[in-house]
Symmetry: C2
Subunit: 232 residues, 2 copies
């Protein structure tokens, strides 16, 4: 087959073993809070993870992300304190019958993971008018989340666990990390080598929630319309 357009390359399906590797990463990735070993993350490994994140799709190729690599113990102690303040407020919001289970869950590994990473979105990146953002201003935030998920899957393949901590007052993170007003902290991640992971999502194992049946979530040609026959 000749390629009239030199910008294009052949792109058929991967081999079965390649597909299996990708699905293995997708199905065995976990949100890690407790399994981090103290072994430092090598610079070359971190570089591969950040390169994977940087190859995420971005609206108008705007690449709105920055990567704040956080190792300073004092800084991380202050961030952990901000988490604990917010988490005490969070706990109080749950019904009394769920609160003991909530309080027993470990929801972060900020100080014990060897490395933390804050992935931010610069809302000014790409200038005032960005292709694909004209009618959907949130697309830059969504692009940044795609970078998070690329990194998360690459980390799984590298034997590195990732936990996303979202229980913060955003203002606390902004202050502690010195973020300018036009930069949003999208994801606060704890990273470290892992030797074992939960077989199922930890919140399922602990009885907090269960995976929903996929068929309940699929509609055809409009909200609420069940497909004529369930997918095989």
């Amino acid at each position: 087959m000749t390629h009239a357009d030199p910008a294009l390359a052949p792109a058929g399906p991967f081999s079965e073993s390649e597909q299996a590797a990708l699905y293995r990463a997708i199905f065995t990735r976990r949100d890690v809070r407790s399994q981090f070993t103290p072994r430092p993350i090598e610079d070359a490994t971190l570089r591969r993870l950040l390169t994977a994140a940087h190859h995420a799709p971005s609206v108008g190729l705007s690449q709105p992300w920055n990567f704040l690599v956080l190792r300073c113990p004092d800084l991380r102690a202050r961030i952990a304190a901000a988490f604990h303040r917010a988490n005490a407020e969070a706990s109080a919001l749950f019904p009394a019958d769920r609160r003991p289970l909530y309080d027993s869950l470990k929801l972060q590994g900020i100080t014990e993971a060897p490395l933390n990473l804050c992935i931010t979105c610069d809302r000014s990146r790409g200038g005032p008018v960005v292709l694909g953002r004209t009618h959907a201003p949130q697309m830059d935030l969504f692009s940044t989340v795609c970078a998070v998920q690329n990194l998360w899957l690459a980390a799984r393949a590298e034997g590195i666990g990732v936990g996303w901590v979202s229980i913060f007052h955003e203002e606390d993170l902004r202050h502690l990390l010195g973020l300018p007003d036009h930069v949003v902290p999208v994801a606060y991640l704890c990273l470290g080598h892992v030797e074992e992971l939960h077989k199922e999502p930890e919140l399922q194992t602990r009885g907090w929630a269960r995976r929903l049946p996929l068929d309940d979530l699929i509609f055809a040609d409009g909200w609420g319309r069940r497909p004529a026959q369930p997918a095989p």
Copy 2:
């Protein structure tokens, strides 16, 4: 090694070939607008893609997504018309010197791709208080984007191209898809088999934007602080 906790499984790094397969998906994934072949997507393939999406991380294991599989030609013609209306408005927002290039870019394959998929976020899923959403209400939207990226990478491995179309008035999509008020259309995707893909992001090939140097995006222990030495 014995596992005291039966909920845990060994989880070291993948083999080199498995890692290479994952990175191949990450680095060769493209936002596809023009390369779709008319070949229908098999039910079993679609099922694998939706299963990959459904295994994304979600805040509090809330799984806020639904998958609207859109095949009806009449519906897709109306959605394409909504795109064209919004895109005419978008074009007018760009400076005059960029407008001819903008207008020459093909930004969607709504009617020619064999299948469209709208991935939505049900903001009521998981009840009024969701673990991890108490201080970051946008986390359910971000979880839904993680599902999009899982699907996008799985599609690449299956030889299926995906294009994310974001140039719509959200109200048009809501109306055409019959979405209730508590459901947000997060991603409108065009899917189809592809035999070739752009080697680099199409917007780079076409001269719209370029990939940024990764080192410019990495900070250490706070915004704007360059690492002591660049990552290798």
